[in-house]
């Protein structure tokens, strides 16, 4: 696949703060890539550099195979959706959406046609004459999306576009954005610090920590094969267990859903004796918290059974999992 976006050793500091360490990243055409990471990990900085709103200190930005490090934002053809939407408060919704088309000097009739169509695409056909502040948060978000995609940029950057919305609206908008991604075929870089959102939407996830890329991979690679303690902990729950004596420099990790409570004579590749501390029924799943004889806290998540588990808190149990579910982590990987 063609490379759409390339960052080559791009770095940015704000005084003593290293917002972005030298970072290299390739994004193929049409991909939905999510930047996931804790607050202050450099996600917004990376987007700003791609959009041309912030100059990087070193390195190069390539867009569509062209060196674009010093291209001003208005020449990049990269759409950006701001966390606060940044809709122009003095222009109506239709005027907002028409703005990028006017900047490209399209004929009036064509502008009107495209604006009308775009309002239908985001399912807001009747709000064209309203001002942004007369819309709800979700509607504003959709207008921001419409304004950004109406001139059909081949790259769209979104900085936590759903951060201000409530849970239900977020779910709807996630589906909507996925749909629009398919419809428009654009390359999308999407910033969030919500791991579920990242999992649900992305082709690949770029996990960021401390101004650098901690891991880059598909959602399941990130989830099942984290390469660092940070990656394992940031996405989903991780049970850390003491490594085998010959690999003192590494750590081992098992996901809760891979740990079973073993019946009397049941066997598994790895078996640990533990005391059950608590069981919480979560609906389809139950969460068991146990403490191993060596003092480690272990969490197992299994299908719930109607009769409830036969084990009581305080009871001694055996926990086991298959060898292939053990993930070995380099102790300081990702740093």
């Amino acid at each position: 696949m063609k490379t759409k976006l390339r960052l080559d050793q791009v770095a940015k500091s704000y005084g003593p703060v290293r917002a972005l360490r030298p970072t290299t990243l390739d994004v193929p055409e049409g991909e939905f890539l999510t930047l996931l990471g804790p607050s202050g990990s450099g996600k917004s900085t990376l987007l700003q550099i791609l959009a041309g709103l912030t100059a990087c200190d070193q390195g190069d930005v390539w867009i569509d195979g062209r060196l674009s490090t010093d291209t001003p934002p208005h020449d990049r053809g990269v759409g950006l959706i701001f966390q606060n939407y940044a809709l122009f408060p003095h222009l109506t919704v239709a005027q907002n959406i028409a703005f990028p088309l006017e900047m490209r000097r399209l004929p009036r009739a064509e502008i009107d046609r495209r604006v009308t169509r775009m309002l239908e695409v985001v399912q807001l056909p009747h709000v064209g004459d309203r001002l942004p502040r007369e819309l709800s948060g979700g509607q504003q978000q959709r207008v921001a999306f419409a304004r950004c995609s109406v001139y059909e940029p081949s790259i769209i950057l979104m900085d936590e576009p759903l951060g201000a919305l409530d849970k239900r609206l977020r779910d709807d908008m996630q589906t909507e954005i996925r749909r629009l991604h398919k419809e428009l075929g654009a390359t999308i870089l999407y910033v969030t610090h919500d791991q579920e959102e990242a999992m649900a939407m992305s082709d690949r996830i770029c996990l960021m920590n401390d101004g650098g890329i901690a891991q880059l991979g598909t959602p399941s690679e990130i989830y099942f094969r984290p390469r660092s303690v940070f990656a394992a902990e940031f996405v989903g729950h991780a049970n850390f267990i003491a490594p085998a004596s010959d690999r003192a420099n590494s750590k081992c990790m098992v996901r809760p859903e891979n740990i079973r409570i073993l019946e009397e004579a049941e066997r598994a590749d790895t078996v640990i004796d533990a005391i059950l501390e608590d069981t919480i029924m979560l609906g389809a799943f139950s969460r068991h918290v146990a403490r191993s004889v060596t003092g480690e806290r272990l969490v197992a998540v299994n299908w719930s059974e109607e009769k409830g588990t036969t084990h009581r808190p305080g009871e001694a149990i055996r926990l086991g999992w298959d060898a292939c579910d053990t993930v070995h982590l380099a102790a300081e990987a990702g740093r």
């Binding site: 959009a51 041309g52 709103l53 912030t54 100059a55 490090t69 010093d70 291209t71 001003p72 934002p73 208005h74 990049r76 053809g77 990269v78 759409g79 950006l80 701001f82 606060n84 940044a86 122009f88 408060p89 003095h90 703005f99 990028p100 006017e102 900047m103 490209r104 001002l131 304004r147 950004c148 001139y151």
Partner: protein
């Protein structure tokens, strides 16, 4: 029963409602008695002749004589030009200050505010030193051989404009700035990612959003300029006078009070007309600083122009500047620009020239005050303390200084006593008629001072307060009160009320919470308000002219009289001393503040 219940607050809720208004009562009563009634009386007077018989003769005289009509036109055009220059000159400065980093903002702001803290008369004197035929500019140009004869920079339209714009531009800048600082920076970024060049993003997004600030400061400047008489009198041509000057002439020379009252009505009518037209087209709410950027464009005149004419215009300017930029880029050998480098040199040049214009003039008085030259001539010659000796050996000057300081302090105290409780209520409580009350409090700021002063003079003449310190304090408080109310309200707007609530939940009574939490946090703002009131009172000329008499000299009155007749460096010495007094009081306040902050 129900009728009685609505008339007398019987329930506890009713009583609490009334209690809310209580802190407003002193300030409102004060303004009603010494501001509303005298002004109304003055207007009333214009319909009577000097024997008390009702007549329209004064207005007939006004209409019959084209000279008066010319004075009105003069005043309007003078105000319009002042407004234009204040906005055009102030906008780049406000824009520069609004868009630089917060770290660099405060130093620039301080220099912009310098004129606001300096006595207006002192500033006018400084312009005499700079613009006069022996002044800084003419002497410099002559010695450089650039001109052969001194240019006429003073005692004409140019001189008046310089003095007036210098006086009003800081306010214009501050009002534009308060709107600009509320414009979300990401909007400009958004425009650029959508394909707008910098100049286009400015004209299509930033500029329209800053217009409410432009409109508000335009109104403020225009209305203030209508009542100006100091700059026209001292820097202008005697053949080209303004309404306020004419009023003074009628009062002091022709002793025709009724005709002066009729002229005041005209001035007042012009002021009210401007305010009403503004309110109709743009909305007065943009004056209180609570306006949301762009809020008025929907309802307001700009968006209401036929066929979005305003938008078309702005769009045309935008494209014009884009093409101009591209064209310049083609013909000038610019090196390729790195991203993040901004070409703002033009803005910086404009901004720094403007700030120098605002901040520097008064400093020219200091060397003049020790010059041996008998006129305010540049460059200063030799060195002498003799002008200071003139001041210190003059009983009148010393008396005026002591009285001015005393009256200033008392005015500041009275303004605080009346203004702070009112500001608390206006900023925090929901009260019915809030906007009316607030307008009443702020009205003295926009009404020509001369009208208020003359009205007060009639009132005082009846009750024997003319030439008394009490009379002066009351008169000055009318004008200092708005500044206290505005400043305290601004401070309160930034104050998180949850701090008080937290204190209450932690067991503090309301009184204790106010003393231990509210007051210490608000102290700096309160002191600023006090200082503002003091400085304003020290500088108030209209009251000094009409309420003081020969037995009660005041600094502004003394300066005004001397500047009108003879001008020598002793005035520069007095001005320098005034600068020192104000500077010292600011310094003392700063030190007290930082001392308090360390202890607290």
């Amino acid at each position: 029963m129900t009728v009685i219940a609505t008339e007398f607050p019987t329930t506890r809720a009713d009583r609490r409602m009334l209690a809310r208004y209580l802190p407003l009562v002193p300030a409102v009563a004060f303004l009603a008695i010494v501001f509303v009634i005298p002004v109304a009386q003055l207007l009333f007077l214009s319909f009577f002749d000097n024997t008390g018989v009702p007549t329209a003769a004064h207005y007939e005289r006004l209409v019959a004589n084209p000279t008066y009509f010319r004075v009105v036109l003069n005043t309007l055009s003078y105000s319009a030009w002042t407004t234009l220059f204040c906005i055009v000159g102030g906008y780049p400065i406000a824009y520069l200050v609004a868009t630089i980093s917060a770290r660099h903002r405060n130093p620039l702001l301080i220099w912009i505010l310098v004129p606001l803290w300096t006595s207006f008369l002192v500033r006018v004197l400084a312009w005499m030193v700079i613009l006069g035929s022996h002044g800084v500019i003419n002497r410099t140009l002559l010695s450089l051989g650039l001109i052969e004869r001194p240019l006429d920079l003073i005692y004409n339209f140019f001189g008046v404009m310089v003095g007036s714009v210098h006086a009003l531009m800081p306010i214009a800048i501050l009002m534009m700035l308060s709107v600009m600082l509320n414009i979300d920076r990401s909007l400009s970024s958004a425009a650029s990612t959508l394909g707008a060049r910098k100049s286009m993003a400015f004209w299509r997004v930033y500029f329209p959003l800053s217009l409410p600030g432009v409109a508000a400061s335009g109104l403020m400047v225009f209305v203030s300029a209508l009542g100006f008489f100091i700059a026209p009198q001292l820097l202008g041509s005697p053949s080209n006078i303004m309404l306020a000057q004419l009023i003074i002439v009628q009062l002091e020379e022709a002793l025709n009070w009724e005709f002066a009252a009729a002229l005041s009505v005209v001035l007042l009518a012009a002021t009210i007309l401007v305010v009403v037209v503004f309110d109709r087209t743009l909305g007065l709410s943009s004056l209180t600083g609570e306006v949301r950027a762009g809020a008025s464009t929907r309802k307001g005149g700009f968006g209401r122009l036929p066929g979005g004419l305003g938008r078309q215009l702005v769009s045309a300017i935008g494209w014009g500047s884009v093409y101009a930029g591209i064209f310049l880029g083609k013909i000038l050998p610019y090196r390729r620009q790195r991203l993040g480098e901004e070409r703002r040199s033009l803005l910086w040049i404009l901004g720094l020239i403007g700030i120098a214009f605002l901040a520097l003039p008064t400093f020219f008085l200091i060397p003049i005050s020790v010059s041996e030259n008998r006129f305010l001539a540049w460059p200063p010659e030799g060195f002498t303390w003799q002008w200071y000796q003139v001041y210190f050996s003059s009983a009148v000057w010393l008396d005026a200084t002591v009285r001015s300081i005393g009256v200033g302090l008392a005015t500041a105290a009275l303004s605080m006593i009346l203004g702070v409780p009112a500001a608390f209520v206006l900023a925090r409580q929901r009260v019915i008629g809030k906007s009316v009350i607030l307008s009443l409090m702020l009205l003295p700021m926009v009404l020509p001072h001369i009208i208020v002063a003359v009205g007060l003079f009639y009132l005082y003449a009846k009750v024997g307060l003319v030439g008394t310190n009490i009379g002066l304090i009351i008169g000055n408080t009318i004008f200092s009160l708005p500044y206290v109310v505005i400043t305290v309200m601004a401070v309160l707007r930034n104050y998180d009320e949850r701090l008080d609530q937290a204190a209450w939940t932690l067991g503090a009574t309301r009184g204790v919470a106010f003393r231990r939490i509210t007051l210490p946090i608000l102290k700096a703002g309160m002191v600023t308000a006090l200082l503002f009131a003091f400085v304003k009172a020290m500088d108030e000329l209209a009251i000094a002219l009409f309420v003081a008499d020969a037995g009660t000299p005041l600094l502004p009155k003394q300066l005004w009289q001397e500047m009108s007749y003879k001008i020598d460096p002793s005035l520069a010495a007095v001005s320098t001393l005034i600068l020192v007094i104000v500077g010292l009081s600011i310094a003392v306040v700063q030190i007290l503040n930082s001392f308090g902050a360390k202890r607290g």
